[in-house]
Symmetry: C4
Subunit: 220 residues, 4 copies
């Protein structure tokens, strides 16, 4: 979308080059949009207490306090999606041209990221009910799916001819591969922990998100 289209390492001038080759700029723009919207829609799940709770300050404070699962869901999902955006950013920077497989893998990732507001709302709705465990399990399962989609995306970047930029070192590639491989089993552990105890499952998820906030894990 913004780099000069004649940049030699992005859009070669061979026959049909204008159709067969493309840089990642609009893929980035579209993905940025989906990440930004998914992260911002999260706030819509925090609902203003109904009219009867606005009758006295005490009732409102109690009602607002009772929304803590919504606040927790907002913060946790916002930070997680934000970290995923940073990871996505770091991955796509390594892309020279967009293959069809990369396009599909990216769409699969966005499908999972765009879904996050639903399990977040479900988590918030169930946390204080007898169905809290189901909320945590589905929340963890969503992140297993996203972690798998990230691995698929990275696989597509590495395997396509000319997709990965030529100047990325083997060491960088291996470091990213290692970091990404930990995602699915990590969230699977959270899922299993939630089977034993929902609060334990939440704790593992929070810990995982905290780990992904560390500089080393984002490939940067």
């Amino acid at each position: 979308m913004s780099e000069p289209r004649t940049a030699p390492d992005r859009e070669p001038d061979g026959p049909f080059a204008e159709v067969g080759q493309r840089g990642p700029e609009r893929l980035e723009a579209f993905s940025d949009g989906v990440f930004a919207i998914a992260i911002t829609l999260l706030v819509l799940e925090i609902r203003v207490p109904p009219a009867q709770d606005l009758a006295t300050p005490g009732a409102l404070v109690a009602a607002l306090g009772g929304l803590w699962p919504s606040y927790l869901g907002y913060v946790l999902s916002f930070v997680t999606v934000g970290v995923m955006w940073a990871n996505h950013h770091n991955l796509i920077r390594l892309v020279a041209t967009v293959s069809h497989g990369l396009m599909l893998a990216n769409l699969a990732l966005l499908l999972a990221v765009g879904f996050v507001p639903f399990p977040t709302a479900l988590l918030a709705a169930t946390l204080q009910t007898p169905t809290g465990q189901i909320g945590v399990l589905i929340y963890a399962a969503t992140f297993i799916g996203i972690a798998l989609a990230f691995n698929l995306l990275w696989y597509e970047i590495r395997r396509g001819r000319g997709v990965l930029r030529a100047n990325v070192s083997r060491r960088s590639i291996d470091s990213i591969t290692r970091s990404y491989r930990l995602g699915p089993p990590g969230f699977a552990i959270a899922f299993l922990a939630a089977l034993i105890n929902p609060a334990l499952g939440m704790l593992v998820i929070v810990a995982l998100v905290a780990v992904y906030l560390l500089p080393s894990s984002s490939g940067a």
Copy 2:
């Protein structure tokens, strides 16, 4: 929005050139925004089950299972809009300058794409009711409209003077034209199939979307 405005093949310096000529960068940015938002709003149609379904795990699992039309609608519309975005991307890359007709055709396309969350929600709401057939028919009709809008957009790109980039080969043009011509009759067949049997209509839609996921159909 991003290419140097003095790039010779984009913004000639003739009189009034600053008003009469424009590259597709902001058209892309605006369209990317509409596609990204339409695709992300789809998740808002998946509603968390009401409080009474959160009383027991069994009730919640049943309620979440009963939401399958919403999940189906989310995935189907997300993938379809995602593929449309990729097609749009491929088309606009061939544009050198934006004509007024192209602007209007693009607006017509965005009007149809921005509408998708409504027939998707209607499809999900009706699939398990006696009105499921209407839901499928309106869903198919929406995609007929989008396919027609894509043909109009492509027509406007080809017919305007200086709209199509000079270096696009005749073979690429013909290949895209052929691929786009199949869209309206394809979804019309889905519509007709839904008239006979709603499930059959859905099957045709799913098959069409799967075909559009193949590399050859997106012009890439």
Copy 3:
């Protein structure tokens, strides 16, 4: 956001230039976002009919037919906001550096554009009720406000030192000024017509939007 920051006609290298001068790229990106989101949120106002209308095909067809004010509002507001986006695009292309006044005028315009989903929903809700006139009046008033904001924006572009690009001809400037001056009285006529008869007011609005779809009116 995307042009090389050292481009001489955009970001001079004088003292404090990095703070005091700025090109319109991020203003464009932010405005594109607001336009794209406002236009896409419009679909959320078209509500799926309630469960009782899904009992028989006849009831659903009647319910969907009864939503015609929502479809009308969607199409009318989508096209109007889309045309406004194109106009905004054409205006900002003439900007070399962003002044503080331009920033504020742009914010005022976005405030009005971002408000459009509310009068659109109000119009759709009231059109078939005894309060339809109020819906049309508020809808027209919103567009008077937007037309005024466009004139303010254009005024700020012309009056700031170095805001308007140096290579814009006097003839282009005058042509845009003339075109923009017609906006506020045009929608004021729609408002007055709606005072006499709501349907007449709607007709004037539809006619105005159709006129703005003509190539000559968008400055392109």
Copy 4:
């Protein structure tokens, strides 16, 4: 996302440079998205009056008049978030490369900005009830949080090695630091004023937003 990636002051060609160094383009794009969406979602909190208020023009006018807290909340939050966007724009323009700390500080800021629709809706819902004071207090507290996040962001820009662009003058830096330091105590005064009297608290918030609309405060 848009500047040539080989620009010497942005992406050095040292070993692992493609992973370890990055310009602020996609950070800007993602942040622009979140600001634009948060600001545009505000309109969803202005609800069309229920059906019974659409029975007579008098009832509708009264109902629409009764929505004044929603209009106030919309305008106030829109302008405030818009000014914050401008400030964010001005800050990020000074960034040469994005550090991990900057990424996290930016995420914290977006977390607070994305939250704004909730306290805005709460303010509108409570303003005419006995709980209005709580609404104003939470609204003010949100802006204290955002002001703190801005100071953290600016701190991260200054402290990281190579994060701040080399050509930013000491005078510019000091001017921004002074301006940002006033934010948290300013909104804290609004909070304290609201403890005494909610209307007084609102007045201080409105005054602060008006001050931030002045050219000198945005660092431009």
